[in-house]
Amino acid sequence: MVETSDIRVVRCGGSKVNLTPPIISSDSRFVLCTSGDLVKVYSTRTEEWLHSLQGHTNQVTGITLNPANHLQVYSCSVDGTVKLWDFIDGILIKVQLVSGLCVSACPECFQLVSVHLPKSAEQEVEAKEMSAVSSHISKNPSCTAFGRGVRSVKHIFISFFSLCSFSLKATDKKGAKNAFTCIACHPTDDCIATGHEDGKIRLWRNFIHKKEYTYSTQHWHHNAVNTLCFTPEGTHLLSGGIESVLVQWQYGAGNRKEFLPRLGGSILHISASSDGQLFCTSHSDNKITVIESSFKVCGVIQGLVKGDAVLTDLMIDPRSKALVLNGKPGHLQFYSLLRDKHLYNLDIVQQEYIYEAGLDQFEVVKAAFDIKGSWLATVEERGKKSSDLEFFLKLWAFDERTQSFVLNTTITAAHTDRIISMCFSSSEETTMLVTAAEDSQFKAWCQGADDQNFWSCDFVGSYHKLNPTNCSFSADSSLLAVSFQEVITIWSPDTWEMLTTLCQPPGVIRDLCFGRLSCSKYLLGTTTKNLLCCWNLLTCELEWSTSVDVSKLQPDPFSENVAAFSYQSKHTDLFVFKPSEPRPLFTNKNVCSEKVHRAVFVPREEPLNSCDESTQWLNRSQLYFLTQNMDLLTFSTATEEDRMLSSSKQLVIDDSVAVTPFYLLLGKHRQQQQKLNTQSHPVSDKPQQTQGSLLHTPAHVLPAASVLCSMFVNSFLISNTGVHPLRVKTLVNFPKLMKYELLYL
């Protein structure tokens, strides 16, 4: 097997937007945030993603507005570069060319470094002057703050460190959890606010004089204060923590405060726009909330929510073709992979979420769609740690009118123990749900007769009091396979007869799936003892087996192919094969270094027509998989990348205008105008000719003066082809709209 170079693993959408505090442009029109190796630009009004600043080759760790030019932004990255961008047009201006101070907290060493770089006109400059300000700094960006004015920065740093040393004393004295969690500096006053692990906020004053500092304490948060932020005028202090309540303290007015509760996940960062009109909070559920100064939420930018672990499988909603997995606590999220956009959250638990650390709450642990997408089954669970486990099985019907799922049935005690596996029958006529649980039973659930459309139990099956591990329906739903530890039992769902048992010891069955289409006579199973087995259901015999430690077996619903991820010696390999032959179609060694537990085949919008044998399996669907580090990865082929590249060229957005339907209409119009302009350019190359012909032609044969006017004026303009376009843009700094108006004057 040759590892083909035209298929490569790419990181696809849904990277974190909450790693660093988002920044708001000075005119409050844009929000910038880091997202993986990009800097994304969103509109504050419409919450739309406008464009992204591409260029870094690794995780972007910090962004800040250029204090000299408010239309430019600096970004620093793990790849060791600091870049300067024009964020309105999305153009890279300079690399490592900084005139002031920049802070980059590199994750490797967590050192605060002050970089001083010479001014230069060149595009790429190596920074040489570098001074480490301090080491032993937390990675979290809320733990560093700047005071007012560049000159006093040094002072503030010094005092900050004296505070640090003081904090240790304070902890010793009181014995409470006084550790610092975040810091903010007052923009005009000599005041530093610090947040503490026990939820207290301390305001420090007089720290410039040695050992004479004073502080006042304010307490509202009941858990650690995650972040603090002063408004630009310094009249208010904003604080946030795990409670997900944004608290606004009036500066210098003691305990007067305002609250904005239930914002989502716990608040990680707060930032304010330079005019103080907008605030941004970023949350642990990969979300940025835009809040007006009147404490009203006016926009939510939601990324792919990735909690500590994805408990449900990765699924595809058959209707919207969106990726479905559990997102916010107690919710299922629908995420469009094509547009890299969060579609909506479906509230499964329907209970008030209590933002408290260490509280055992309901989590969605299992979910399954039926083949048409008209039914959704979910299992929510609580009490994993304690002995009394609570769980509910819920069935949701798709409502055509509201275009969302509506709760149909709640089953409180579906089983006496945890549900391990769940699947819908795949036939079109009757929908049936099978759940297998640790109480050594599996149950089949059916919808009742016409008058009662709720679900009830139809059949309870068990096999020698063994615990079931997995269940799966065949492609035509004529067979149900339920694995009980080492034994696979085959049942007929029509009569509920056990047809046969298959067994290949040793090893408990881990995964189970039927072949599709031409391979539907095969049943595949993986065991914990590194065995991948394929049974022929016609002969009830083992067809072939191979020794691979398969961590995830994923059949493609649109072809015969089956993908198997195996984890060996600290890296994951992928095998794609057909059940009919044990030789893999495609092998990719070392896909990633972590274990892969979730994978899904996503149907393509339009199939590729690649004839290459190694890429053929990606023609109709695309394989996405989730690693243990919660990275969503996929495979991309060369042809696909070509197509992407060409389409992205078309889609270069010329201005700051959001892409709305309205814009698309207008944009076309503009493009035509642009063409007209370029046509008129050759004329301007020979101005004398045009003017001459215009003057020498009799007036009665000329077209209307209004038609000729622009051409005539154009002919007098000096062509700008010789000047670097970037230069022009930075010099003029006019939006393009203005440019057109100039031309038509």
Partner: protein
């Protein structure tokens, strides 16, 4: 002013703010008409408090059907005290539908809605029995303990005729359907037919071997009638032949016989059994019902849908549907001796051994409507209608104000994390008695938040008694037992040190212990029964070999061909 149009003076802007209803109506409508198509910005009220979910768990037991709803639709009974056991109730077939009630030595005639008798016949020297109307409702016939049969005019007082001949008590009397003859059954084992105009005995037949206690004349044929006797038989007599034409063995002393209006079916009651006979099939038994646990003394048919009602000494009236399943059950205070249903099921009258006549009247929609309409009337109508009939024009934008969320009191307290207060609210008398599921839902919610211990702590004797009472009442309810057991555990943990200080709480805890012990025993017994049943079922199912192997290839056949 309008949010979107203010900066543009040339836009006509119409704003309707119904300030009156800012607090009344859930939705304040705000229309704005713009000459330019600008989309209004909707500011979504994103995260609001999610109220406590009260789990709806279906109660086990009878299902609610149309029949149950129909029979539930009666007012609470009116009790009328009679002088002795009420042995017979008969409704007049004519329009006001008065009814004659035979009790002790009197027969009272009541109007349909009166509680005082409008007429009474008191000229009996001994207990009267079986007062029944003629088909035109003008004459009434009654037997008595002394063996005399008296015939009354409904408007008169004195008996018009007296038929003498029976040597023992006459328990059942009735007119034949021609109206000129009276048939009577007596304890002297005979029944006799009397001519009304001449007051002479037409015939006397002795076929039964025990007391005759049931009689039903045919309404279609004046010569037919059915009798039931303590000799366990039901006989059909034809006066033309002068003897019985059909005999059915009921198997128990027959207390009551009843003919369906079609007269194809016959009902007989006796012992604990109600039996339905098919007369057209020569007296074949159709069904035998055993729903009462004491002697069934009376039966009657409702006039709407011919539903069968039976009353018994076990103090229940049962209503059967057409497939003879019990659909409803009336409970009474004493053993039931007699029962009758008025035409159109307006009234159900039940007579009991303690001399109480209980009369249930049907509820009517009319009554309800008048009540509600009276409540609705008022000056607020004009306010409610204001602005409701406004139809937006085509280019209007509808801006709706977010609906204000109304929360229950305990939810409001939960929202502000006042856990003890929320539990107190949920334990208020009305909630905990009539809606225990709400109380339990709040307890579950508190447990989920991890604050149940805080909510239960720091209570005095009174509120602790309240909680313990709730536990005592509901701890075995399978719907609630799990959360309530947690509450019990926490209460014991919290108050272990101080429990002995209050004798009231101590007594309650002892009761709780007893009750729990009993429940545990019961559970164990049930498990034993389950084990026995399991072995029985296991031995019943035939042992099957794995014969399904052959069937398997058939399933996959077509696909194989396709491959």
């Amino acid at each position: 002013m309008c949010l979107f149009c203010v900066p543009m003076p040339y836009i006509r802007c119409v704003v309707w703010i119904m300030s009156v209803w800012m607090w009344k109506s859930p939705e304040v409508l705000l229309y704005c008409r713009c000459s330019e198509g600008r989309e209004p910005v909707f500011i979504s009220d994103m995260a609001s408090f999610k109220p406590t979910k009260v789990q709806f768990l279906p109660k086990l037991g009878e299902k609610v059907t149309e029949d149950t709803l129909y029979w539930k639709n009666y007012k609470s009974p009116v009790q009328i005290k009679e002088f002795g056991a009420v042995t017979k109730i008969d409704f007049s077939p004519l329009a006001p539908h008065n009814y004659a009630v035979t009790a002790s030595t009197r027969i009272h005639v009541y109007g349909l809605h009166s509680q005082e008798p409008i007429r009474s016949f008191t000229r009996f020297r001994d207990t009267a029995y079986g007062g029944s109307f003629r088909g035109d409702g003008k004459l009434l016939v009654a037997g008595s303990e002394e063996g005399l049969i008296r015939l009354f005019d409904i408007s008169g007082r004195v008996a018009l005729r007296q038929f003498t001949g029976h040597s023992k008590a006459v328990h059942v009397t009735s007119f034949l359907s021609d109206g000129f003859r009276v048939v009577s059954g007596s304890d002297d084992l005979t029944f006799r037919v009397w001519d009304v105009p001449s007051a002479v005995e037409l015939s006397s037949i002795t076929e039964h071997t025990d007391y005759i206690r049931a009689l039903a004349p045919s309404k279609l044929n004046p010569d037919l009638f059915v009798t039931g006797s303590y000799d366990h038989t039901v006989k059909v007599f034809d006066m033309r032949s002068g003897s019985s034409v059909m005999t059915m063995q009921h198997g128990h002393p027959v207390e009551c016989v009843l003919l369906y209006p079609s007269e194809a079916l016959l009902v007989s009651t006796g012992g604990r059994y109600v039996k339905i006979w098919d007369l057209l099939k020569g007296g074949q038994e159709l069904v035998s019902l055993k729903n009462h646990h004491k002697t069934v003394t009376c039966a009657c048919l409702s006039s709407v849908g011919n539903k069968l009602l039976t009353g018994s000494l076990d103090r229940h009236v049962k209503v059967y549907n057409s497939s003879y399943k019990v659909v409803h059950n009336f409970d009474c205070d004493a053993s039931i001796l007699s029962m009758a249903v008025a035409p159109d099921d307006e009234v159900v009258a039940v007579g009991m051994t303690n001399g109480v006549l209980s009369v249930r009247h049907r509820k009517h929609k009319k009554d309800k409507e008048t009540l509600t309409s009276r409540r609705r009337r008022g000056p607020s109508y004009r306010v409610f209608v204001k602005g409701k009939n406004f139809v937006p024009r085509q280019d209007d934008f509808l801006v709706s104000k977010p609906v204000k969320q109304y929360l229950r009191k305990y939810d409001k307290q939960l929202k502000s994390f006042e856990v003890s207060k929320a539990l107190d609210t949920a334990l208020q008398t009305w909630t905990r008695t009539s809606k225990p599921e709400v109380t339990v839902a709040v307890i579950i919610e508190l447990n989920r938040r991890g604050t149940l211990k805080n909510a239960l702590a720091g209570r005095n004797e009174e509120s602790l008694t309240k909680i313990l009472n709730f536990l005592l009442k509901h701890i075995f309810d399978p719907r609630f037992s799990r959360p309530l057991l947690t509450v019990g555990d926490i209460v014991l943990d919290l108050y272990r040190q101080v429990l002995h200080q209050s004798p009231v709480v101590e007594r309650q805890l002892q009761r709780l212990m007893e009750v729990l012990g009993r429940e545990a025993e019961l559970q164990q017994e049930l498990l034993q029964v389950l084990g026995i049943l399991d072995t029985l079922f296991a031995s019943l199912t035939p042992r099957k070999e794995v014969a399904a192997l052959a069937a398997l290839p058939v399933d996959q056949g077509p696909q194989l061909q396709a491959a």
